[in-house]
């Protein structure tokens, strides 16, 4: 189960809590897409993510690339070891660019 809490403003932050998998990846997508509406930057806070898999990672990558093409920069923050490990396995930095993790 994945819960999201969005702090609105000119640079919104979406805080994730729980597990990001095939089931909940849509929750991530919808929350970030909504927060990014009208914004130039959006931050995703992973601090309370207990588990992520390749499906969740795939949605994160696609969000980064799609939002960038719409002029919105995505930042990822506070990656726990499990998330960092999966992102490393899937070479996410190469796919989305180091700038996404500048404040990680």
């Amino acid at each position: 189960m994945l819960q999201t809490t969005t702090t609105l403003g000119p640079a919104p932050t979406v805080r994730l809590s729980g597990e990001v998998d095939l089931d909940s990846a849509d929750v991530l997508r919808a929350a970030v897409a909504e927060a990014a509406r009208g914004a130039r930057n959006v931050t995703i806070d992973f601090a309370d993510v207990k588990f992520i898999d390749s499906s969740g990672t795939g949605v994160f990558v696609r969000l980064c690339l799609d939002l960038r093409s719409q002029g919105v920069a995505v930042s990822a923050r506070d990656l726990p070891p499990q998330v960092r490990g999966v992102f490393d396995m899937l070479r996410v930095r190469e796919l989305v660019g180091d700038e996404v993790f500048a404040s990680a």
């Binding site: 095939l22 990846a25 898999d53 390749s54 499906s55 795939g58 899937l90």
Partner: protein, 271 residues
């Protein structure tokens, strides 16, 4: 048993242009005969030539790979001969020229197929016949089981397996890695294996084993080539690679009546 195929746009149907195939057969030293494991196999090479190359791979104890070009057309991107103990696995990989479009971040189809060949080559993956899998899948003592019919079942299945692993004394790091692989296999089952199936964690003398069973159409690449319209959760194509990179041994049988995976974590100090 049907060949592993995928056609552009939707599920493979007879008559459509094949986009990707993985075919596997085995040359047995004891009988000097070839047996289809994922087939029927058509590598564009005669049985005599296949046997000759298999014998050469076994003699030299080297992994050998070729590209098969017939009348100017690539028939098999890779024809791999993987010498084993008493037999030689022969994998034929054909992408039929399919390539990713610009901006597609998923793992390339030829890379996915090569992951499979590489995993066989380094003895991480065993392709099993139906008979071999039937003998393997019920070995050991069952510790936990979960049935999955939807993605919403994934978290519960992970928790069930995790509790059993914790009770069994597996340390947190190994547990996390093993659970990730099991979850990837379960997600693949939901996406590509007919939408559901079962997981069963078993204890064998020298390993923990999770048996992942679905009754889908067999290992295919259709969803990878053309994910359903509007589908955000389409496979990244990395699930199998993550499994091969993180587990000690994997067994696979696939065919028209479904796919069975054996995910093994060996009992080794420090793992």
């Amino acid at each position: 048993m049907a060949a592993v195929t995928a056609a552009h746009g939707s599920a493979a149907t007879p008559g459509e242009r094949q986009i990707a195939t993985l075919q596997v057969c085995r040359y047995m030293v004891s009988t000097a005969a070839l047996h289809d494991l994922i087939g029927p196999c058509d590598f564009g090479v005669s049985s005599e030539d296949l046997a000759r190359h298999a014998v050469e791979a076994l003699r030299s104890r080297k992994f050998m790979a070729y590209t098969v070009v017939l009348a100017g057309r690539v028939h098999a991107d890779q024809l791999c001969f993987v010498p084993q103990d008493g037999w030689c696995d022969i994998l034929g990989i054909s992408t039929n020229g399919w390539r990713r479009h610009h901006g597609d971040h998923r793992r390339g189809l030829n890379e996915i197929l090569s992951d499979l060949a590489a995993a066989v080559a380094c003895a991480r993956l065993r392709i099993l016949s139906a008979t071999e899998m039937a003998a393997e899948r019920d070995r050991g003592v069952p510790l936990a089981a979960a049935q999955l019919g939807a993605a919403a079942d994934l978290a519960r299945a992970r928790a069930t397996i995790e509790a059993a692993l914790q009770e069994g004394g597996l340390d947190a790091t190994a547990r996390a890695r093993y659970i990730l692989c099991i979850s990837e296999a379960a997600s693949n089952m939901l996406l590509h294996g007919g939408g559901g199936g079962t997981l069963c964690l078993r204890r064998l003398d020298d390993r923990l084993r999770t048996v992942v069973v679905d009754h889908g159409p067999g290992l295919q690449f259709t969803n990878w080539i053309e994910p359903p319209r509007g589908e955000w959760r389409a496979s990244m194509g990395y699930g199998l690679k993550m499994i091969f990179d993180n587990l000690d041994a994997v067994g696979l049988h696939t065919g028209e009546s479904g796919t069975t995976l054996l995910l093994d974590h060996m009992n080794m100090r420090g793992r």
